[in-house]
C-alpha cells in the first residue's frame, strides 16, 4: 500500500459532505499531494448516509483504503459505520456541542462520545469533540457551515498550516468567505494537532472528476455538441458540458429522452457536427436503436456509458462493471464499433479524445465505457504525463461529381463497378478479408490499399450545389438509395466490416493494453476500467504484473499477447459477478486462472483486494 493519509467525512445528504471532501482535496492538493476523492451516497436528496473519502499521497492514488486516519462525523451513523476503520493513532472527530438544532449529531453524540471513545480509544486512537453547534450559534452561521468547522479541525489535526486552508477557502468557497473563515478558524483553534502532513515538493495538480475529464477529452477530440438526458452517474458530464458551453462554443442540448438524444446527435453528425452523448445503462437501452442506425448509416458518434449496478434501476449511485457485453453487442445487425474503458482522469481525457477521433476517421460509433466510481470520483490530473492525443484525419470528398455518400473506393470500388461479378466474386472478397484478418496479407499491400481497404467513404455535408447527400438506415447502394440486391448487400456489409481492419491497425499503434506493477512477474492481475488504480497498487505491493486493456473493441489481441508474455498465472479482477472481461478474453483465445470479484456496488479498497489476491495465491 502506498504511503498515504485518508480522511472520511460523513453525515446526511444535505450536510455538504461532498463539498467538505472536495475542500480537503483542494487543501491537500495545495500542499503538493496527489488526491483521490470517493463519494458514497444513496439515491436521495435529503437524509440517508453520505460520506466522502479523501486519500492523499505523494504517489498517484486512484483508490481508497479501508483504514482511515481521520473520521469526521456529522452524525452518529458515521461513527457507527466507520469508527472501527480508524488506524492506530487515528482521530475520530465528533460534534461535542449538541446544540445544533434537531440534528442527531447533537446531544446524542455528545452523550455517546464516551462509549465511542472506548471503541476508538485503543492503539492511540483519540475521540475529539468539537462543539460545532455552539460555534455556529455563537458566530450566527447557518447549519451547513458545520462542514467548514470540521475542515478547520482537520487542518489542525493534520498539522497543516492555517494559511493553506485560508487560501483554499478563499479560492473555492463561492459565498460568505469571511464567515466561513471565521467558522473554520474556530474549528482549527478547538482541535488538537495529531500529526504533521508536510508540504511536498511536487507540482500542484488540478483535481477533477472522471465526468469532467471525459468532457475535456471529448472537447479535445473535436466535440462541438453534447446531447444528454440526466441519469446518474453520467449527469455530471452533462452539467460540465453545459457549464463550459460558452467558452468552448458547444451546443449543449437536453432533450425529452435518450432516444431523442441519440437521434439528434446522429442528425448533427450527418450535417458535419461532432456530437457526443452520455448516459448510464438504462439510458443506453433507449439509445440502442440509434446505435444500430449509426452502424448502418455509417455515422460517427461517441457515447459515454457509465456503469451502475443493475438490472434495471439497480443501485443508481453505486459502481460496477456489468455492461461490457451489453455495449459490445448492443444493436441489431453487425457493425464495427470502438469501445474504450478508461480508469482514471488522465485515461478518461485521452481515450475520450481518441474515441471521438476514431469515430470520425472511420465513421463508426465509439463508446467510452466508464462507471460511477470513475465518473463521480475526483483525481489529480496531470495532462503533461499523457502521450499526445493522436490526430485523426477525416476523409473528405474531393469534389469529383457525383458525390456518393457510401462510395466504394479503390480496390473495393473496382469490384463494385464490375456489376456482373455476382456472389462468387463477393465470396472471394470475403476470403481475402478473412485472410487479412488472420494477418496473412502483407502490410505494404494493406498500406497501398489505403482507405479503400478500410471501407471509409469520403464525407461531405449539405449544402453541396449540384449534389445530394443521402443517408439511409436501409441497406443502400453507394448513393444511399435503398436496395435489397444481394450482391450490393454483400459489398456494403463487407465495406462496413472491413473497417475492423483499419481500426485494428489504429489500435495497434496505441497503448491499448497497459502493463504495470512488476512487468516481469509471472503472476499477473488482469483488470479493466476503474479497477486499474487498486490493482496497480496491490500489484506494486505484492510484486505482481498488472495488465489492463484500455481498448475493448476491437479487441487488442496482439497487445494482450505481448502483455501476457511470460505470465504463468493470471488473476482476473472485476466488479461483476459473471466475469465479463474474462468472457471477452476467452472469445479471443486467452484464459485466466483465477478470479477476484466484487459486486456489492462498492469499489475495492486496497485491503479488500489484497486479501482476495492473497487468498487466491495461498
Amino acid at each position: 500500500m502506498y504511503d498515504s493519509f485518508s480522511v472520511l467525512v460523513g453525515g446526511k445528504a444535505g450536510d455538504g459532505i461532498n463539498e467538505a471532501g472536495a475542500l480537503i482535496a483542494r487543501l491537500m492538493d495545495r500542499l503538493g499531494y496527489r488526491v483521490y476523492v470517493e463519494v458514497d451516497y444513496p439515491s436521495l436528496i435529503r437524509g440517508g448516509h453520505n460520506f466522502a473519502t479523501v486519500r492523499c499521497s505523494a504517489d498517484k492514488v486512484a483508490c481508497r483504503t479501508e483504514e482511515l486516519d481521520v473520521v469526521m462525523a456529522l452524525n452518529d451513523e458515521t461513527v457507527e459505520r466507520h469508527g472501527e476503520r480508524l488506524a492506530d493513532g487515528g482521530t475520530l472527530v465528533i460534534d461535542a456541542g449538541g446544540e445544533n438544532g434537531g440534528d442527531d449529531a447533537g446531544g446524542e453524540d455528545a452523550g455517546g462520545a464516551d462509549s465511542k471513545a472506548t471503541t476508538a480509544g485503543s492503539a492511540g486512537r483519540v475521540v475529539m469533540g468539537v462543539p460545532l453547534g455552539d460555534i455556529l450559534k455563537e458566530l450566527k452561521a447557518p447549519p451547513v457551515m458545520r462542514n467548514t468547522c470540521l475542515l478547520g479541525a482537520f487542518c489542525k489535526i493534520a498539522g497543516v498550516p492555517w494559511e493553506a486552508l485560508e487560501e483554499t477557502i478563499r479560492a473555492h468557497i463561492p459565498r460568505k468567505i469571511e464567515q466561513n473563515l471565521e467558522v473554520a478558524r474556530r474549528g482549527y483553534d478547538t482541535a488538537e494537532q495529531r500529526t504533521t502532513l508536510p508540504a511536498l515538493d511536487l507540482p500542484h495538480l488540478p483535481v477533477i472528476t472522471g465526468n469532467e475529464a471525459v468532457g475535456l477529452g471529448l472537447i479535445r477530440g473535436g466535440c462541438s455538441a453534447y446531447v444528454a438526458y440526466p441519469m446518474s452517474p453520467s449527469s455530471g458530464l452533462l452539467h460540465f458540458m453545459a457549464e463550459v458551453a460558452d467558452r468552448c462554443q458547444l451546443k449543449v442540448v437536453h432533450p425529452e429522452n435518450e432516444i431523442a438524444v441519440m437521434l439528434m446527435a446522429l442528425g448533427m453528425a450527418s450535417a458535419g457536427q461532432r456530437a457526443g452523448v452520455g448516459t448510464a445503462g438504462g439510458g443506453f437501452c433507449l439509445m440502442v436503436e440509434g446505435l444500430s442506425l449509426a452502424g448502418q448509416a455509417e455515422l460517427p458518434i461517441t457515447i459515454m456509458v457509465a456503469q451502475r449496478p443493475g438490472p434495471s434501476t439497480g443501485l443508481p449511485t453505486y459502481s460496477c462493471q456489468t455492461d461490457l457485453h451489453f455495449v459490445l453487442n448492443a444493436g441489431q445487425g453487425e457493425f464495427p464499433r470502438v469501445i474504450v474503458a478508461p480508469g482514471n482522469a488522465e485515461e478518461a481525457y485521452y481515450w475520450s479524445a481518441v474515441a471521438m477521433g476514431l469515430s470520425w476517421r472511420y465513421q463508426v460509433p465509439s463508446i467510452v465505457l466508464t462507471d460511477k466510481m470513475l465518473c463521480e470520483c475526483s483525481f489529480s490530473l496531470d495532462l503533461d504525463a499523457l502521450p499526445d492525443v493522436p490526430e485523426y484525419d477525416v476523409p473528405l470528398w474531393d469534389g469529383a461529381s457525383p458525390y456518393r455518400r457510401y462510395a466504394l473506393t479503390g480496390a473495393d470500388g473496382d469490384a463494385a463497378k464490375d456489376a456482373d461479378r455476382g456472389p462468387d466474386a463477393a465470396a472471394a472478397d470475403r476470403h481475402e478479408d478473412a485472410a487479412a484478418e488472420r494477418g496473412t496479407s502483407a502490410p505494404e499491400v494493406e498500406a497501398a490499399r489505403g482507405d479503400a481497404a478500410i471501407g471509409v467513404s469520403p464525407l461531405a455535408f449539405p449544402p453541396l450545389p449540384g449534389e445530394v447527400v443521402k443517408i439511409d438506415s436501409y441497406e443502400h447502394d453507394e448513393r444511399g438509395i435503398t436496395t435489397e440486391d444481394p450482391a450490393i448487400t454483400v459489398r456494403m456489409q463487407d465495406k462496413r466490416r472491413s473497417k475492423w481492419r483499419g481500426l485494428e491497425a489504429e489500435v495497434e499503434k496505441l497503448e491499448a493494453v497497459a502493463v504495470g506493477g512488476d512487468p516481469e512477474a509471472a503472476t499477473a492481475l488482469l483488470c479493466w476500467g476503474s479497477n486499474g488504480g487498486v490493482c496497480g497498487e496491490v500489484g506494486d505491493e505484492l510484486g505482481l504484473r498488472v495488465v489492463k486493456p484500455l481498448v475493448l473493441s476491437p479487441f487488442p489481441a496482439a497487445h494482450m499477447e505481448r502483455a501476457l508474455d511470460g505470465v504463468e498465472r493470471l488473476i482476473c479482477v472485476e466488479n461483476n459477478a459473471g466475469g465479463q472481461l474474462l468472457r471477452l478474453m476467452r472469445v479471443n483465445g486467452f484464459e485466466a486462472d483465477d478470479a477476484v470479484r466484487r459486486y456489492d456496488g462498492r469499489t475495492f479498497a486496497v485491503e479488500d483486494l489484497r486479501a482476495g489476491i492473497e487468498e487466491v495465491l495461498s
Partner: protein, 295 residues
C-alpha cells in the same frame, strides 16, 4: 437497380430533376404520389424564395411515406420509425442555414414518436413536419394507427379498435407549435401551398396531410364528401383554431377543415444556438484554462 446500371440504359435523370431513378413501389392510387408531386413544384417555389435546393434536407421515418427519401433527388436522411423529428432537429441545430423538412407517417410520428413531435412543438424548432396521415399502417399491411377511428377493423383489431383516435392538431397546438395546417392529397395546388407555407414559416410547423392508402384504407369518398377549405378561420386566434379543429375528430361526421388552423410568431429553438461557432475556439487553450481552474 443501381445508378450505374441505369446509366448504361440511359434512364437516369439529370441532377436538376427532382426525382431519382429509384423504382417507385407505392401502390397505384396511393396518396403519397400527391406529396411527391408537390415536391416537384416546391423545389422551384422554394428557390424563388431564396432557398436553393442544396439547402433543403428531407428527413423520413420508416413506412410507406418514407420511400420519398429514395425518390427525391434532394439531400435526405432516411431515418428510423418514429424518429424523424429528433433527426431533423439535430440537422437544424448543426446547421441553421439548412431548410429541414421531416416527413413522417401517422403511426410513425403520432404513435412511435409522439413525444418527439410534442417536444419539437414545445421548442419551436424551425423544422417542418409533413405527416402522411392515412390512418393505417400500410407497409406492415394494415393495422390501426393513432388516428384510425374507433371501430377500425385492422389485422391487429379484427373486431374493431376500441380506442378513440387522437387529434394531432390539438396536440400540436397544446404543445406550442406555431404553424398548424391540414391538407389533403387531392387538390394539388392546396397541398403545395400548405407545404410551402409550412416550410417558409419560421418555427415548428405541422401539416397533417390526409393521404389515402388505396390498398388498406381507401377513404377517398369519405374525405371528398367532407373536406372544405377553412375560409372562416382567423389563424392568429388559438380559440378559432381549436374550435375548427374540433369540427372533425378523425372519425365520424363533421366538416374536415383544410388550410392553416394556427399561425404565430415566436422565438425558435435554433436561434438560441445560431451564434455558437466551434471553429472560433482554441480548444487546447480552453482545456488548459478550464483545467487550471480546478487547481
Amino acid at each position: 437497380m443501381t445508378r450505374d446500371a441505369a446509366e448504361k440504359q440511359g434512364r437516369t435523370q439529370g441532377s436538376a430533376d427532382v426525382l431519382t431513378d429509384a423504382v417507385n413501389t407505392w401502390c397505384p392510387g396511393c396518396g403519397d404520389f400527391g406529396i411527391q408531386n408537390a415536391w416537384k413544384a416546391l423545389v422551384g417555389m422554394l428557390a424563388e424564395e431564396g432557398i436553393p435546393r442544396e439547402r433543403i434536407v428531407v428527413v423520413a421515418g420508416i413506412g410507406c411515406h418514407a420511400k420519398i427519401a429514395d425518390y427525391l433527388n434532394l439531400n435526405t436522411f432516411y431515418a428510423i420509425h418514429g424518429r424523424t423529428v429528433p433527426v431533423a432537429t439535430g440537422i437544424k441545430l448543426a446547421n441553421p442555414e439548412l431548410t429541414v423538412v421531416a416527413h413522417a407517417g401517422d403511426g410513425d410520428c403520432y404513435g412511435e414518436g409522439l413525444a418527439h413531435m410534442l417536444f419539437a412543438a414545445k421548442r419551436n424548432i424551425d423544422i417542418s413536419l409533413m405527416v402522411h396521415n392515412n390512418g393505417v399502417y400500410g407497409l406492415t399491411t394494415g393495422q390501426y394507427t393513432p388516428t384510425s377511428p374507433r371501430g377500425f377493423r385492422g389485422k391487429s383489431t379484427p373486431h374493431g379498435s376500441v380506442e378513440q383516435p387522437i387529434d394531432p392538431l390539438e396536440l400540436a397546438l397544446s404543445g406550442g407549435a406555431t404553424f398548424i395546417a391540414r391538407s389533403y392529397t387531392r387538390g394539388a395546388e392546396r397541398l403545395k401551398s400548405a407545404m410551402r407555407d409550412a416550410i417558409l414559416h419560421k418555427g415548428f410547423s405541422l401539416v397533417d396531410i390526409l393521404q389515402v392508402c388505396a390498398t388498406f384504407n381507401n377513404l377517398y369518398t369519405y374525405y371528398n364528401e367532407r373536406v372544405a377549405d377553412l375560409d372562416d378561420n382567423d389563424p392568429s386566434s388559438r380559440d378559432d383554431a381549436l374550435a375548427h379543429m374540433r369540427e372533425w375528430t378523425y372519425g365520424g361526421e363533421g366538416r374536415i377543415g383544410l388550410g392553416t388552423f394556427y399561425r404565430a410568431e415566436a422565438e425558435t429553438f435554433d436561434d438560441a444556438y445560431r451564434d455558437i461557432d466551434a471553429a472560433s475556439v482554441d480548444r487546447e487553450a480552453a482545456i488548459r484554462e478550464i483545467v487550471a481552474e480546478h487547481l
